[in-house]
């Protein structure tokens, strides 16, 4: 495969590139089946094997269109999609409920989403709950021992990336040569809204990655664990990270994983250096007064 060919909109193809051949069964996870083919079509969920082990797949489908909610297409996460993804996670938890921590099935998130459903009906019924529900489910599964690996293949934009990706143990991304987009909004929009010259922001981005759009900047901030430079390396990279994450969990090093772990990584890579200082000071200040707030007996 040509290393610069974009994977945008090709979430379903990415599933086949990553999992064992012919192993993906859509709409079935443990005892749970998703029987309505029109339900949450912009999210494809199911079970596959990866290097022989059972994994749950939750992928964006950039080609689908949600007939019931017209603002939901091209990989957008709508209300149905958010809850469908949450159900896929809960089904994985349920399927492995009796298994020891080290045998919980991994979840592989294939990320190519431009946003959450931006519509009036969505706001009336509470789109915020759907995207929140999926994140809480992922955090619960991660803390229960399921290794969760996110693979960014196209767009990982703002709240949709928070929803589908940023709760993973480890995040991998195809590098910038694939046109991969990780950002809140493009630098051109940031420039317009905060009224700073684009040239100034572009120059600053070279030394400070917090403004700029792109996987390399997220890497520098500790927001992405590893960049992958070829599509045919995705499979091996995910298998590797599942093994690393499992080992870390078995060793009780959960704090090196997930959003909290990426906080430490951000400091290590010199991307977010004030964060730990603020936290340290708060810890000291609270320790000095904690006695006042303990029960007086």
């Amino acid at each position: 495969m040509d290393a610069t060919e974009s994977m945008m909109g090709r979430g379903r193809e990415a599933i086949d590139m990553i999992v064992d051949p012919e192993s993906f069964t859509e709409n079935a996870i443990g005892a749970k089946t998703f029987d309505d083919p029109d339900f949450g079509p912009c999210a494809a969920v199911g079970t596959a094997t990866l290097d022989g082990q059972t994994v749950t797949i939750i992928a964006s489908d950039g080609q689908a269109f949600n007939e019931r909610f017209p603002v939901v297409y091209a990989g957008i996460i709508g209300m149905e999609e958010g809850y469908k993804m949450a159900q896929a996670v809960y089904a994985s938890l349920e399927a492995d409920a009796d298994k020891p921590k080290e045998e919980k099935r991994p979840l592989v998130l294939i990320v190519d989403t431009p946003g959450n459903g931006p519509g009036k009906v969505e706001e009336i019924f509470g789109m915020n709950k759907a995207t929140g529900a999926y994140q809480l489910a992922l955090a619960e599964a991660r803390l229960a021992g399921h290794p969760i690996i996110a693979m960014v293949i196209g767009r990982a934009i703002s709240g949709a990336f928070l929803c589908h990706g940023l709760q993973a143990d480890n995040i991998l991304s195809l590098d910038a040569s694939f046109g991969t987009m990780i950002h809140v909004m493009p630098l051109t929009s940031v420039s317009r809204i905060i009224r700073k010259d684009l040239e100034v922001l572009e120059e600053l981005s070279k030394s400070n990655p917090v403004f700029a759009a792109g996987p390399q900047f997220f890497y520098a901030l500790g927001g992405v664990e590893e960049l992958v430079d070829q599509t045919d390396k995705m499979r091996a990279a995910i298998i590797d990270h599942i093994a690393t994450v499992r080992a870390a969990k078995a060793a009780g090093q959960d704090d090196t994983l997930g959003p909290w772990g990426r906080g430490a990584l951000g400091a290590e890579r010199d991307g977010r250096v004030v964060r730990p200082k603020v936290m340290d000071l708060m810890n000291q200040e609270f320790a000095a007064v904690a006695g006042q707030y303990a029960p007086q007996r």
Binding site: E123, M127, A133, A139, V184, I194, K196, R272
Partner: protein
């Protein structure tokens, strides 16, 4: 610093973040953590040559309501719209983390710790979410907050308080949704995608953000109360919010779990019944939903005084 007693009668909407933090807990109990004298400000705003604040627009600290330790996070809308960046995000994350750690310490020291003696977290939201001046760091901080909220489950109840001018939107909209209990005033607003953004992306026909009445109907406290997206609707005073927190502080973890909207397969199944209703109804206006909930005269609800509203409103059940 205003007297605590004076704060209790003051409008929540008109107050600043620090007065809210002080007034939401009992008199004289608030200790600020990483406050303005510690001078932690955003290095990224400084790089851009923008004005900074020494609290980065978020007040964090600890106080007490009755015998309950309360970890308070209070966002300041007047500073860059209450937006969340690296420093403010770290303060928010760590306040929740400290509450969980304090819970564990107390639970280990006192096997007979009562529900009222267990710490809670109160978050006063006034924000549009990520701060665009340091958007990548803000985004990562949001993910950390969601992680801490899940870690608090079954230990530390988290209460969202929404009654500010800016409201609670963007990524913080789903942070609020992920708390155990939401307390709003009718002036509070809660959502994910702000009306301006919907109009910009989908057009004026989808959402006319200039129609303020429509905006309030769609995201305001009364609507959120009717659809169950907030648990309590209170008067616009710091005292009313304080008293609601005091009532909640003694509740059990099971009580809080029951108040949640999301966070379990059962809650998700319930929400999906609402989504099916949305697909079937395709409401053009929040009032369509109010009528569906059994309110015969939905138009009258908008301007109805709060006590009358609470006495007669029918809430949606799915």
């Amino acid at each position: 610093m205003p007297k605590w007693n004076d704060l209790q009668g003051r409008s929540f909407l008109e107050s600043n973040a620090r007065d809210r933090a002080v007034g939401l807990v009992d008199e004289g109990t608030f200790t600020e953590l990483a406050g303005p004298f510690d001078r932690f400000y955003s290095p990224h705003l400084e790089t851009l040559g923008e004005a900074v604040e020494f609290d980065d627009g978020i007040v964090t600290g600890v106080g007490r309501v009755g015998v309950t330790p309360v970890f308070v996070i209070s966002q300041e809308g007047k500073f860059i719209g209450g937006s969340v960046g690296e420093v403010g995000g770290a303060k928010m994350v760590n306040a929740i983390r400290l509450a969980i750690e304090f819970h564990d310490t107390l639970a280990a020291a006192h096997p007979d710790l009562t529900d009222a003696e267990k710490p809670i977290v109160v978050i006063s939201f006034e924000t549009g979410g990520v701060r665009l001046h340091e958007s990548n760091a803000g985004l990562l901080a949001h993910a950390e907050v969601m992680d801490q909220l899940q870690k608090a489950r079954g230990k530390v109840p988290v209460i969202a308080v929404i009654g500010s001018k800016v409201g609670c939107f963007g990524g913080m909209g789903f942070v609020a949704a992920a708390t155990d209990c939401i307390v709003m005033s009718e002036f509070g607003r809660l959502g994910l995608t702000g009306p301006e953004v919907i109009e910009q992306e989908m057009g004026k026909e989808e959402f006319d953000s200039g129609d303020r009445a429509l905006v309030f109907r769609t995201t305001g406290g009364k609507h959120k109360y009717i659809v169950g997206d907030c648990n309590y609707l209170v008067a616009d005073t710091l005292g009313a919010f304080h008293d609601q927190i005091a009532e909640l502080a003694t509740k059990s973890l099971a009580d809080f779990e029951a108040m949640r909207r999301i966070g379990s397969p059962e809650k998700v199944a319930q929400q999906l019944r609402g989504v099916a209703l949305a697909a079937e109804m395709q409401p053009k206006d929040a009032r369509d939903v109010w009528a569906h909930a059994g309110n015969a005269d939905p138009v009258a609800l908008t301007d109805m005084p709060l006590p009358d509203f609470l006495a007669q409103v029918k809430r949606l059940s799915v």
